[in-house]
Symmetry: C2
Amino acid sequence: MTTKSEMSRLEGDTPAQRLLALLEVIAGKDQFFTLQGMVEETGLPKPTLHRMLQQLETSGMLQREADGRHYSKGSRLRRLAESLLLNDTVHGARHAVLRKLVDEVGESCNITALSGGEVLYLDRVETSAPLRFYLHPGSRVPVHCSASGKLFLAQMAPAQRRRLLNELSLESFTRNTLIDPEALEAEIEAVRRQGYAFDDEEFLPGLLCIAVLAPNPDGPSNTGLAIQAPIMRMTRDKALACLPALQRAAEQIAAINREALSDAAQAAAGDR
Amino acid sequence: MTTKSEMSRLEGDTPAQRLLALLEVIAGKDQFFTLQGMVEETGLPKPTLHRMLQQLETSGMLQREADGRHYSKGSRLRRLAESLLLNDTVHGARHAVLRKLVDEVGESCNITALSGGEVLYLDRVETSAPLRFYLHPGSRVPVHCSASGKLFLAQMAPAQRRRLLNELSLESFTRNTLIDPEALEAEIEAVRRQGYAFDDEEFLPGLLCIAVLAPNPDGPSNTGLAIQAPIMRMTRDKALACLPALQRAAEQIAAINREALSDAAQAAAGDR
DNA sequence: GGTCAGGTTCCATATATCGGAATCTTTGGT
DNA sequence: ACCAAAGATTCCGATATATGGAACCTGACC
């Protein structure tokens, strides 16, 4: 239970983003809620919130009880959520591949993408082993000290890579973090030749990762696939033994992406 | 498959509503989509759409593939949808009651609310019998010719009721529709005394309904519960035989509402 | 009938949106 | 290598919208 003082003002710089943040707060409510309650929870001014809720109500996203002061989720909002989850076979298929990979190698695995100069965790399946690193989907990690980050860097044009690394500056996290530009450049060159990358305690002490990219014949890939394990259970050699399984999974994910792209093209063509 | 010409411009009078409408379109996509594709589908101008998608992307609601032109649903959007559906035990509980009622009486039932002077279908469970009226949640029906509508009218103050009925004017749908104000007033008086209401082919020919309200000791109720059946299988007498089951279900729904309200109050108190 | 806790409305100001047009970028063809 | 053509992105002034403090309602309770 959070107290009023801990509550953060709804972040967001545009009205649209504020609205989405409000929806997230509403989504977490399992009961009726009131204008006043929302004011206390979000820190937004009362008239502002009143207007937003009113718009949501007239759109059918919310509905009010007879007393006029308790809101609850409307059928349109529910339908939106259902539609979002139902029409997401791409994610579902990717997730299934991930799960199978975790089964095979026995360690936590995740799917990553490059977003805004950082590595973004798209999805993750945890190992069943009791000792784990807890890293959740949606979190971000610097490019220069993650296995998939180095792969993304390796497929960039040198100028593009230099620009990005200059902007971000190489922060050090452990004593293995590569902060010397030349050493990093050499590592990236090696990664490009190999087609896979390690993160050997470069970001978190005790965490070893190995990653590959989902191959994309039409250009750079924005889908990385990694195994992450505590060094207690994992060495570079063991990781290399998992490489074939990892590459097989990456190929499957690439196939899913290809299919989704061609389906999209088809749909567009059908609309003409 | 819809053609370009059939596509309707995204409805909505405020930017917020337009954004929600856009989200609904996106929710229905099971693959990657492009700016251009969205332009064709929604009819919105390209720069406008570009801005909206950009905002959604920087919020983490969407993500782009490496090619920079294909979007897909982001993890934050997925989490939003999951949260919406997970935290909705109120609806879930209501729905369960509804389903049980349908089992008992063997006919389609629905939950309604008064919204903007009309009866709104909140939820509906269909009978398994092959002959059915197809009426979906979210649709609206005039108050004066629906069973739950008449119940909502019956609990209003006379002045309030007169104002509402004046504004709406009594449209006729079948030869049973009550369009004479005095006849309607008499019917409403009877409904108040009985505590239940019929709709005997007053809205759709061949459709008979019986409804009650979920009792609310603290004031007027905004939750109606109705059985709807084709006259092929239903008479007033048969409907009356279902009344006890209907009232039992209504009481259960009232209990769910009460609980949700008190939980909400509790949560608010805990935040102090 | 007075008080108080919400809810609602007002309104001058600040801000975001809008979208046609221009511009940049990528793609595909020769 | 070059050149369209399609698509993405940026610009920007006119316009519509959001903003939120303050004032105003409303109903519940004493």
